[in-house]
């Protein structure tokens, strides 16, 4: 079935053999691509072709291929995760493209996300930001009965909406300043909205912001491209909440004096 409506595409892919190597765009012609393929399956096909011609396959991060692990990335024609809203690259399907299209594929670009190889980048900066405070300090066994702390449904839903962040880094990739504010604010918000997060809220926001700065992400200029690029549809209202939490910590907290 696919042969009758297969797509012929030109791919321009960033190839870079290693973190410190020089990179360049290379052009590949793809023939008869089924519109039912996912974008990553199309790259699988390319890689199989490259192996046949003894060229090294294109490195790209991916794992769950169902939009939840946050490992896939890719700037596709200048858009993080491609043209669709609320979609990761692994969920993007080729029916979204037309026969004859040229597709430019680049890695996430941010000083804090150095390229490892080709399209794969190092996003450990996100882990280090979470390490700085993206948790509730509760040891296993400490917990009281789960229903002891009621959480209004509205708050829970807002918290969940922030917690939905998959940590893919599209917000950073899409932001003109390579800012990580949407990512950081998602975690700060999730916990700030819950009573469980209350005891550490000042320390959390202060430390996470400090770590974010240390990693070399840019600042937020409220352009909101992050929100449009976010596959988990995390709202920029969380950034305001982070700002609020931060100001509250500055004014109220006795820490760091």
């Amino acid at each position: 079935m696919s042969s009758s409506r297969g797509l012929n595409l030109t791919l321009k892919i960033w190839r870079q053999p290693g973190p410190n190597a020089r990179g360049e765009f290379r052009t590949y012609e793809m023939k008869n691509i089924s519109p039912d393929m996912s974008f990553l399956e199309m790259l699988d096909v390319l890689n199989e072709q490259l192996i046949q011609t003894k060229e090294e396959p294109v490195a790209f991060d991916h794992d769950c291929r169902e939009g939840i692990c946050g490992m896939c990335s890719l700037m596709i024609n200048g858009q993080a995760h491609g043209p669709d809203r609320a979609t990761t690259t692994c969920q993007l399907h080729m029916r979204r493209f037309s026969d004859g299209d040229t597709i430019v594929i680049e890695p996430w670009r941010a000083s804090a996300f150095p390229v490892i190889r080709d399209l794969a980048t190092d996003r450990a900066a996100f882990d280090r930001i979470i390490t700085a405070g993206g948790y509730v300090s509760v040891n296993t066994g400490n917990a009281q009965d789960a229903n002891c702390l009621p959480v209004g449904r509205d708050r829970q839903e807002k918290s969940m909406a922030a917690a939905a962040c998959i940590g893919c880094g599209a917000c950073v990739a899409a932001c003109k300043n390579a800012s990580a504010m949407l990512f950081v604010s998602a975690k700060v918000s999730q916990l700030a909205l819950l009573p469980q997060g209350e005891p550490e809220r000042a320390r959390r926001v202060t430390r996470m912001v400090a770590q974010m700065d240390k990693e070399g992400f840019g600042g937020c200029t409220n352009t909101y491209e992050c929100e449009a690029a976010c596959p988990a549809e995390v709202s920029v209202s969380n950034i305001a909440r982070l700002n609020r939490e931060y100001l509250r910590a500055v004014v109220v907290s006795e820490e760091g004096v």
């Binding site: 079935m1 053999p17 290693g18 089924s34 039912d36 393929m37 996912s38 990553l40 399956e41 699988d44 096909v45 199989e48 490259l50 192996i51 003894k54 090294e56 396959p57 490195a59 794992d63 769950c64 291929r65 169902e66 939840i68 692990c69 946050g70 969920q91 029916r95 190889r117 794969a120 190092d122 996003r123 450990a124 882990d127 979470i130 390490t131 993206g134 948790y135 509730v136 300090s137 509760v138 296993t140 066994g141 917990a143 009281q144 789960a146 702390l149 009621p150 959480v151 209004g152 449904r153 829970q156 839903e157 969940m160 917690a163 998959i166 940590g167 999730q190 916990l191 819950l194 469980q196």
Partner: protein, 655 residues
């Protein structure tokens, strides 16, 4: 080939379950009391290696670090948060009885043993049910935003065939939220300096010194360097082996390598043939398919499964009137209807398709229809409940499930088998523990919905922290130098393997071998199995493996980020493991849970267990060489399973 496998040993002395005897309700408490403790100030002297950062691995690493142990945590992904537990959608079970509908620890225990078709260890299951309540408490305390009711208290839903509402959930992303909770606990310990994190590291071998697990060999996937890490205990929490079927709902990176390497170093592998096929997946769309996507089976709460009564019905689904539809689950299973357990629902769909009633272009799909629910509750209600799943379906298929019924087909989803462990989660190698999906212990031959998350977290938060102390307190564990012959030997063996893979320079890609293996597995050892097919599969796999080692083409070098090489190593192990899986399926001459042998079925085509001969866990010991694989060096040991509390009955979901 089957005949050449070594004969079996009934009730092997090598398999000491160490499970408490007597009253099952007090067993875990008594057992904990009997375990030796490690003095609090001594805990910091012990180093523990945890491989995998899914629910089991992350929760174990965090909990052990909280106790004071020094933990090294490893994962092959770029961050611990990516582990595939994250993809679990539906929920996590706990016997809280918040809904006042008659749930209890005993009922959860009972349901799990029965759901597992009486092939799980009772004592483990009871423990799992009893700590389930603590899991919810722990996760809520971490800030997991479970669904709430308007009063602010936790909401529950019924799930996966349970007749009580005991499933806690966070949208359709429960696994994600639980994993991020465990991940946050883990990262907190990283902050406190108790956990050292090693991401993008793949475990390639186990280091054993004096027959005790003392470390691992990993490859740094970014630089290609081999590293050895030694410690006082090794925990595997490396997930399931569903990708032996190539197409599964597992993440692309999921693999059996860590477990398999340990198996080849002496850990018994139990019940590999117990694989779960999930009924509600999006069907294959073509040869390019690289993975299958699951849709939560909560869909079956409101969706109705059907096929046209006429196999040649060419009408669009919506134009087929009710009289011409066969709601086969409702017809065959009056009591449970669309909510029968996964194995039953999957086989029923397969049967319908095998008989020619399948729908869609490939004819390998059945309809899951929300028409009646939308009519009854309105599209808004359906959207509120299942919106994200419908959206996912629409993204993948390009069809709108609000107006046309979804097409679904079963896919490999979860593997109940795994490394054999005793009640302490210790494998047959002292000092080597196995947690979560990677072990075999709690789900028997079939796992109930929303129980995988429960088990992973139970093992990590509430079992291993107690049981590991006993090993540390009672074993002599001298420090291992980095240049210890066993360390060097294991590193060299791992290096040699990589060198060998790179040196073959054949003409066939790793991917094509993986697909070929998957095809054999799915066709001959999938939802239904028979002797002829299994024997054929055994031979085919051996042949394919031989070709692999002579004709695979692995690109690039070992000294760099090389995903092709990573994949090659994993496929190499699947090519060995797959044969054991098939052989286990061949040896188990009965049908139970996810294992369906066509020779053993009732007149109504239901699974027919053989409790007289097969009421045991089949644990395979590998006695062959480490550098190669010969299937006939797999030797079977049996752990008899006794059912003192839940009496052996035939599962029936008909009335």
């Amino acid at each position: 080939m089957a005949e050449s496998h070594a004969t079996t040993t009934q009730g092997s002395s090598r398999l000491q379950s160490n499970a408490p005897t007597g009253d099952i309700t007090t067993g875990w408490d008594r057992h904990k009391f009997d375990l030796k403790l490690v003095n609090p100030s001594n805990k910091r002297k012990f180093n523990i290696i945890v491989v995998g950062t899914g629910l089991a691995g992350a929760s174990a690493a965090a909990s052990l670090a909280e106790l004071g142990y020094n933990v090294k945590s490893f994962c092959f992904q770029d961050s611990p948060r990516r582990a595939h537990s994250i993809a679990a959608q539906g929920g996590v079970n706990a016997a809280k009885n918040y809904c006042n509908d008659g749930d209890s620890v005993w009922r959860l225990f009972y349901d799990t043993v029965k759901g597992g078709d009486f092939r799980a260890r009772e004592s483990n299951v009871y423990r799992l049910a009893s700590v389930s309540t603590n899991i919810i408490d722990q996760c809520v305390a971490q800030g997991v935003p479970f669904q709430r009711d308007y009063g602010g208290l936790l909401a529950n839903r019924s799930f996966g065939g349970a007749q009580v509402s005991r499933t806690f959930y966070a949208r359709g992303q429960t696994g994600q939220q639980l994993l991020l909770g465990a991940y946050s606990a883990l990262m907190r310990q990283v902050d406190l300096g108790k956990v050292k994190l090693f991401a993008r590291r793949e475990m390639l071998d186990l280091i054993k010194v004096d027959d005790v697990a003392r470390g691992i060999v990993v490859r740094n996937l970014v630089t290609g360097e081999f590293e050895s890490h030694t410690g006082d205990a090794v925990l595997l929490a490396t997930g399931g082996y569903g990708n032996v079927f190539y197409l599964s709902t597992n993440a692309k990176g999921c693999n059996v390598t860590a477990s398999w390497r340990c198996h080849k170093r002496g850990a018994f592998f139990a019940n590999p043939c117990f694989t779960q096929i999930h009924p509600t997946c999006i069907p294959v769309s073509g040869d390019h398919q690289s993975k299958l996507t699951l849709m939560s089976e909560s869909l079956r709460n409101d969706g109705r499964v059907w096929v046209p009564k006429n196999p040649n019905d060419s009408r669009a689904a919506n134009e087929v009137p009710d009289d011409d539809r066969d709601y086969f689950l409702e017809r065959r299973y009056a009591a449970f209807g669309n909510l029968v357990p996964r194995d039953v629902a999957s086989r029923a769909a397969k049967k319908a398709c095998d008989e020619g009633f399948g729908v869609g272009e490939t004819k390998l799909a059945v309809y899951l229809d929300f028409r009646d629910t939308i009519k009854r509750d309105g599209a808004a209600v359906v959207k509120g409940k299942y919106g994200n799943l419908f959206q996912m379906y629409a993204k993948i298929t390009g069809e709108d499930p609000y107006s046309t019924p979804m097409r679904i087909y079963p896919a490999v989803h979860y593997t109940m088998g795994g490394l054999w462990v005793d009640y302490n989660l210790q494998t047959t190698i002292p000092g080597l523990y196995c947690l979560g999906e990677a072990n075999f212990s709690d789900h028997g031959a079939n796992r109930l919905g929303a129980s995988a998350l429960m088990q992973g977290l139970a093992d990590g938060y509430f079992v291993i922290p107690y049981t590991i102390g006993h090993h540390l307190a009672t074993s002599k564990l001298p420090k291992i130098a980095d240049d210890h012959p066993e360390v060097r030997g294991a590193v060299e063996a791992a290096k040699a393997r990589v060198t060998k893979l790179l040196g073959i320079q054949g003409s066939r890609s790793v991917e094509s071998f993986h697909r070929a293996l998957g095809k054999i597995m799915w066709e001959k050892c999938g939802m239904a199995r028979n002797e002829v097919g299994l024997k054929y599969a055994e031979q085919e796999i051996a042949t394919l493996r031989h070709e692999f080692w002579n004709n695979v083409r692995v690109m690039g070098t070992g000294e760099a980020f090389n995903q092709n090489l990573e994949h090659a190593g994993r496929v190499a192990d699947f090519l060995e493991f797959g044969e054991l899986l098939v052989h286990d399926a061949l040896t188990r001459e009965e049908s139970c849970g996810g294992h369906f042998r066509e020779e053993h079925q009732t007149e109504e085509s239901e699974a027919k267990r053989n409790d007289a001969d097969f009421c045991h866990a089949a644990a395979w010991e590998y006695a062959g060489g480490h550098d190669s694989f010969t299937g006939d060096k797999e030797q079977l040991h049996k752990e008899p399973l006794e059912f003192e509390n839940v009496h052996l009955t035939t599962r029936s979901y008909r009335e």
